[in-house]
Amino acid sequence: MSEITQDTVLCPDQLHTHTQSPPLPRPVRPHPVRTVEMTSFGILGRPTAAISLVTAVVILSAWWATSQFGLVSPLFLPAPAEVVTQFANIYRDGYAGASLGEHLFASLFRILTAAAIAISLAIPIGLLMGVNRVAKGVLDTPIEFYWPLPPLSYLPLMIIWLGIGETSKITLLTLAMFAPICLSAQAGVRALPIERINAARSLGASRFQLFTDIVFPSALPEILTGIRIALGIGWGTLVAAELIASTRGIGFMIMSAGQFLATDVVFVGIFIIAACAFSSAAAIRLLETALVPWKGRT
């Protein structure tokens, strides 16, 4: 099939010979043209994945070479193979009395519970602060006061007030994740063009319909960006939250291994957290393409 097509397309003169007409000259291949585009600034969506991949390979090779040639003591930098072996060991035998799954589940449970609470509080509160003067005035003071603080600095307070159980850890994570989502929801309302509100009003929208049909979807792109930042902060705070009086969790595993100078276990923990944080960011990106496909195209 493909051969026939090729013949018909590339050799029209042959077809003509069959019908006894004089052979036409072969179509001249168009001269290769130089396509051009406007000079741009910045990256502008040009792919960077290949460069990133090469960088990763270079870093891994450097790590491998450093340990292979004994440049650094394994106490400080274990060989890649050692980390992989240790991962297999922990996966098989667990660590400090709990399986790897239990450690991972403990961490995931804390961060996901905190994320759910933070998201369901921060979105309505942030939107309300964006549209209501009193709400903005009242809530701005405590939020602006606490959110620049490093979560570690008020962790002792959480423990004194809420005990050493899950409540204090989840509260700490919730507080850390609340602020970026709340602030981004406010920014989303600020970016809302007044024409869009006026158009909806002259179509008969009630205040509640304005909120659900115009304000919330308009702010959604910013809110999703806020959630992505919040999850990043959440993973960062998790280790701090699991520092104190924990017996489970990836953060606990890292801290405990550090005390025994088990550098390879520390590396295993770091890679697990990196993988988790990367997946959650990727999940939010997927959510963005599903929920706000119009982003950047208006």
Partner: protein, 263 residues
């Protein structure tokens, strides 16, 4: 009947002065009247539209629609904006049906009405498309369909074709005339193009800036001529059209405060 009676608007500037944007403007928009407010920027034409739409309260004077004073925006006055205000997350059909959704019309009924309106503006094939897939002219047509969906008493159009290229603009003018003849809606239309005002308006209000006021009123016959003949070029190249255009041009120049101050 929509009546604007002795409408004045004063704005406060940042440095504490007051600026008069509108000076005792009065006019009526009769049933199936097409009233065009024409003037340079700063003549208060958008101010008066915002007041009729209910986005801006008046400092003095009243606006009544069928005898009831206008207070705040409502579905009885449909607005088409210069910048398209379609919702990017909704399809064309859902954008057109937005006002009906706000009025809690069932989805099935909405679809019928939306289909009819999209046919009216020539976009029946684009019901499932998203706004970013449409050209500027097409989006403005969606905006017109959306404003008509709630069966408003009047259509308010704030330089709706201002951002379009001149060819699209002429097509849109002709489309608007056909919408007007088929629906018989009252229309209040703002433009700074003399030709557009003369071609579209059954009544043209010529406005001048600082403070915004009406300096001339005309009742051009051209739109009805076009509605009858369908030949826009013939209407626009007729000597009467050119004559009236030059008369209004002279009138606008005479009240041009920038030129007067410079002279």
């Amino acid at each position: 009947m929509l009546s604007v009676d002795q409408a004045s608007v004063y704005f406060a500037t940042r440095d504490g002065r007051t600026v008069q944007a509108l000076d005792r403007v009065s006019f009526d928009i009769p049933d199936s009247g097409f009233v065009v407010a024409l003037g340079a920027s700063g003549c208060g034409k958008s101010t008066i539209l915002n007041a009729i739409a209910g986005f801006l309260p008046l400092s003095e004077g009243t606006i009544t629609l069928n005898g009831r004073p206008v207070s705040g925006p409502g579905a009885d006055r449909g607005v088409v904006f210069q910048k398209d205000t379609l919702l990017p997350w909704k399809t064309i059909a859902d954008n057109v049906g937005l006002g009906l959704k706000f009025a809690r019309v069932s989805r099935l009924e909405r679809l019928d009405r939306v289909e009819e309106l999209l046919r009216l503006v020539g976009l029946a094939d684009f019901a499932a498309a998203y706004p970013y897939e449409l050209s500027g002219g097409m989006r403005q047509r969606v905006g017109i369909a959306r404003a008509l969906a709630t069966e408003p008493e009047i259509l308010l159009m704030d330089e709706p074709f201002g951002a379009l290229d001149s060819l699209t603009r002429e097509q849109m003018q002709e489309l608007l005339v056909s919408v007007w003849t088929r629906t018989g809606k009252r229309i209040f239309f703002i433009t700074h193009s003399i030709e557009e005002a003369l071609f579209l308006g059954t009544h043209v209000l010529v406005m001048s800036p600082r403070p915004g006021r009406i300096v001339g009123r005309f009742d051009p016959p051209f739109m009805r001529q076009f509605a009858k003949s369908g030949d826009a070029r013939a209407v626009k190249t007729a000597p009467e059209f050119a004559e009236l255009r030059e008369e209004i041009r002279a009138m606008l120049h005479a009240t041009d405060t920038v030129r007067r101050d410079a002279a």
